[in-house]
């Protein structure tokens, strides 16, 4: 019994020692970039695919686990946005491509399970939307309209942002008011009187 306990202890300790450095590595590989919600932020990426490609940039609000902004059909390899509100965000980008005539012919010959597989393989489930109520032909039309998409590259993905081996969160905070001015009503009235006097003199 004692031997068994010893074995368990050794195994447990080994697992703990193996996991601890990995956890700390994850923690230190992420950086939060702070910016005002009124500031511009430019997300840039490289195009790794051939052919006519457009890109989608989505903005995910981390606290709500929700996509709050979608920018689609971007032809450049960079895009400038402002964050909609204060909060923690992830920026994500994917490449999109129209289907070739050969692929369209192939899709028109597919049965429902193959169509579902195509949607999954080409990352277009969110573009095609809910298909449970659609006929096979409607699904084919939706797929042909959606095209093909890559998986998402996220700002939190290692090595994607700034070429550094780390990911970025973006935290937006609201802009403060302008500089405070303190004055007295009497001084304001004085200004009005001077303005009146000058205006009168120029009439």
């Amino acid at each position: 019994m004692k031997k068994l306990l010893k074995v368990f202890l050794i195994i447990g300790l080994s697992i703990f020692l193996a996991i601890t450095p990995a956890m700390s590595a994850i923690q230190y590989d992420y950086v939060t970039y702070y910016m005002l919600t009124s500031e511009d932020i430019t997300l840039a990426w490289t195009n790794t695919a051939a052919g006519v490609i457009t890109f989608d940039v989505y903005v995910e609000r981390v606290e709500w686990a929700e996509i709050v902004s979608k920018y689609t059909g971007i032809e450049a390899t960079e895009y400038t946005i402002t964050l909609p509100k204060a909060g923690l965000y992830i920026l994500m980008v994917r490449a999109k491509q129209d289907l070739t005539s050969l692929e369209i012919t192939s899709i028109n010959g597919m049965d429902r399970p193959s169509l579902l597989q195509f949607i999954q393989d080409n990352n277009i489930a969110d573009i095609v939307g809910d298909i449970t109520e659609l006929t096979d032909q409607e699904i084919k039309d939706a797929i042909i309209s959606a095209g093909k998409a890559s998986t998402w590259s996220k700002s939190t993905t290692h090595g994607v942002v700034d070429g550094a081996d780390r990911g970025w969160w973006i935290y937006g905070y609201i802009a403060k008011p302008g500089p405070i001015v303190i004055g007295s009503t009497r001084e304001l009235i004085q200004v009005d009187v001077i303005w009146l006097r000058d205006t009168w003199a120029n009439m």
Partner: protein
Amino acid sequence: MSKIKDVTLSFPPSDSTDIVGYKLYLETAPTEVTHESPSHDLGNNTSVLLNTILGTIDGVYNIGVVSVDDAGNESDFSLMADVPLDFVPPGPPGSLTITLS
């Protein structure tokens, strides 16, 4: 009857688009203004008559203003430090005398 001078605090609005109001924070110097300092909701106003907040309490104040968004987040402070505010009017002149020559 004495007359107390009106002292107005004003500031340009925030550049952010989802601002629903502003808050004024006050501390008596040298205490620094923080988000835990006594505060006054300014609503959408970008100016306020300090007399209505401070009454006639003279002192040297540290003043901070923040913008507030629709989620209740507050911005950094726009600060003004060591502001002498004098609301108490001077005492009246002493007994008047008239000397005939």
